[in-house]
């Protein structure tokens, strides 16, 4: 134990004095989270662009004006930019893709409404736009429905007014009687219409970035962090090969030190450095991205268990590695593939079931799951099995790794 701590202390001082690689690997997840946040995060401007609608009024009647004016009412006026054009100009502009839709009100639109006959309006949509013409279509549907309802309710009164207009005679008595009739009609439907049963309350949902546990960064940072923890822990284990090359391992072998102490010291210092880097990442995540990390005690346990599991796993991998070149080429590939499958690059939830099952065999998957549960304030009973799994995996990997690494080091000490 004394020698183990002596070795770990020595390695910690060495890494402390030469920290560039570890600092680099620690900061990369922050940079990634920042960039991904910019790409996939909520933007500041959330309003729709104004929809350009061209209107051709071939009728030029009171009713066509009335119909078109519905597009300029209230909130619609904010999103619809209605511009009256003649048919030729309108078609030309549509061909150039200058508007989202072209609305054509045909001749005799008003006359047919007076007579209670069905009328048709035409809507040409810009095929190069996906959503905006759809919105215009919906508005036209609603306006048409409202128009139809209005004329159905006041059909008698409108008939009387048309008769007055056709005859050119407006007798005072019948006009006042019509006024009373319209007033009563409005009063009778008022109890069904006002207050409206269904009202639309507009509210812009502002993303509560400060409190939201599932901000983009809270999702991305742990995922990328787990991936880079593999690389950070590997920096410590690479020392095994370096010490073999330098002759320090040979010198230790001749001393009373046990080689297993040397290997366990690498696992220990690898886990300690991994823990420190993870804590730095968590702090930076909180400060820079305001990530809610959940219960700090639980989070601390996750960090310890995760790094122990990673350190053990890497010691296990080193039983297959003989040279620094092998370590560089083979381990980097293993880490990248494992990170891809484990959800560090693409969320595992989006994988098909078969790949998801493979994903569950990776360290990354369980590390990310643990962090995700912590950030969403999941109860301890949900996190506990993951922690237990990490500890057991760590014990298994580090024990098997230490045993075989001990054998392979003893065997291959002399170049």
């Amino acid at each position: 134990m004394k020698n183990l701590l002596l070795l770990a202390r020595k390695d910690f001082i060495r890494k402390w004095r030469n920290p560039i690689v570890i600092i680099g690997f620690t900061l990369i997840p922050i940079v990634f989270a920042f960039i991904f946040g910019l790409i996939f995060g909520p933007s500041q401007e959330k309003t729709l662009p104004r929809i350009s609608v061209l209107a051709v009024d071939e009728d030029q009647s009171f009713f066509s004006e009335f119909f078109l004016s519905s597009f300029k009412q209230g909130e619609l006026n904010k999103i619809i930019d209605l511009k009256k054009v003649d048919k030729e100009q309108g078609l030309k502009l549509m061909n150039k893709g200058k508007a989202s839709a072209l609305l054509i009100i045909p001749q005799k639109f008003g006359e047919k409404i007076w007579e209670g006959q069905p009328v048709e309006i035409s809507l040409l949509k810009n095929p190069s736009e996906q959503f905006l013409p759809q919105i215009v279509e919906e508005i036209c549907d609603i306006s048409s429905l409202l128009f139809s309802s209005l004329f159905s309710v006041f059909s008698d009164e409108l008939g009387t007014i048309k008769k007055f207009i056709d005859e050119g005679n407006f007798p005072d008595r019948q006009i006042s009687s019509l006024s009373v009739q319209i007033k009563r009609r409005i009063e009778s439907i008022s109890k069904y219409v006002f207050p409206p049963i269904i009202s639309l309350k507009q509210k812009t949902i502002k993303e509560e970035e400060e409190e939201s546990p599932l901000s983009v960064q809270a999702y991305i940072l742990p995922a990328i962090a787990v991936m880079f923890l593999l690389f950070i822990c590997n920096v410590v284990f690479e020392d095994i090969l370096r010490e073999k090359k330098m002759g320090t391992l040979l010198r230790m072998t001749v001393s009373p030190l046990k080689i297993s102490d040397f290997i366990w010291s690498k696992t220990l210092i690898s886990a300690i450095i991994g823990i420190l880097c993870t804590l730095i990442l968590i702090a930076l995540g909180r400060i820079i991205f305001s990530i809610h990390w959940g219960n700090p005690v639980l989070l601390f346990f996750i960090v310890i268990c995760l790094n122990f599991m990673i350190a053990g796993f890497i010691s296990f991998l080193y039983t297959f590695i003989r040279t620094e070149q092998q370590a560089g080429a083979v381990l980097s590939s293993v880490f990248i593939v494992m990170s891809l499958l484990g959800g560090s690059m693409v969320p595992a939830e989006s994988f098909p079931p078969f790949i998801l099952n493979i994903s569950k065999l990776t360290l990354n998957y369980w590390g990310i799951q643990a962090f995700r549960k912590a950030t969403t304030d999941a109860p301890f009973r949900e996190i506990f099995p993951i922690l237990l799994g990490m500890i057991l995996a760590g014990i298994f990997f580090s024990t098997v790794g230490s045993y075989f690494l001990n054998k392979s080091l003893k065997k291959g000490l002399l170049k």
């Binding site: 020698n3 030469n18 002759g247 320090t248 040979l250 010198r251 072998t253 001749v254 009373p256 000490l413």
Partner: protein, 308 residues
Amino acid sequence: MLKIAHLSKSFDSIKAVDDISLEVKEGEIFGLLGPNGAGKTTTISMIASLLRPDTGKIYIDSLDIETDLKKIKKMMGVVPQEMAFYEELSAKENLIFWGKLQGVVRKTLEERIRFYLEKTGLLGRENDPLKKYSGGMKRRINLIIGLIHQPKLLLLDEPTIGIDVQTRLNIYEIIKEASSQGTTILYTTHNLQEAEELCHRIGIMDQGKILAEGTLTELIKIVGEKDIALISGNFSAETGRKILSSLKETTVISLEDGKIILSLDASKKIPLLLQDFFREGISIDDVSIKQPNLESVFLKLTGKELRE
């Protein structure tokens, strides 16, 4: 202190060490002299328990290395060819680390560190990281690490490679002092001058075998009073053999096309020999004569020169 009996080690079909036996007394500096590939490092690696011998036995202080390795490790120090320390750490930190690893208590360690740093002229630089040290300074630290726990047996594997004369002399001084205090030293080198100057006894090693061993005087006796002559020129081995057949009181050490090595009384025999060559119309490029010394011994035993 150190006893090796019939030690052998092969790597695939190559016999690196071939049935060697030797004994080194307490406080003695024993030099293993030989060219690269002679088997010196393999021998020292087996003594350091880094390699298991194919056959043979190694005893250190009467303890069998196979059965008492734990005890033996405590009394052994090693200085490998490589700079086996941590360059990010200072000299003092390195010495503390290696000393503690050998079980030296802090107070004793502090005293020894001061003693050795003073001895090597590095006192005052002890807190500098070793990456800032020169090659010679690093070599000295490499040696001190091997000595810091004052081992009974110190294995030195060519510890003076690539250093200046001053550092070399400093290292010799420290080794001699350790020896005078009772440390047994096994020293591998391919430097004749070093072996002559430093070692009490020398073993000449080539192709995995110890060809001869003894003090310098004992080894020179192998050559006797005769000189070693090396003649090179434009002649075939056949012609050389024909000319040498008429020459008496001369031993042929080596004969090949264009090169002959002989053991002879140079002042009398060389003029006669040259006359014979000239008579045959053979031009001679070079004649070098060596007085009886370690180099001539090495030449006689191995049939080849030992160059750094």
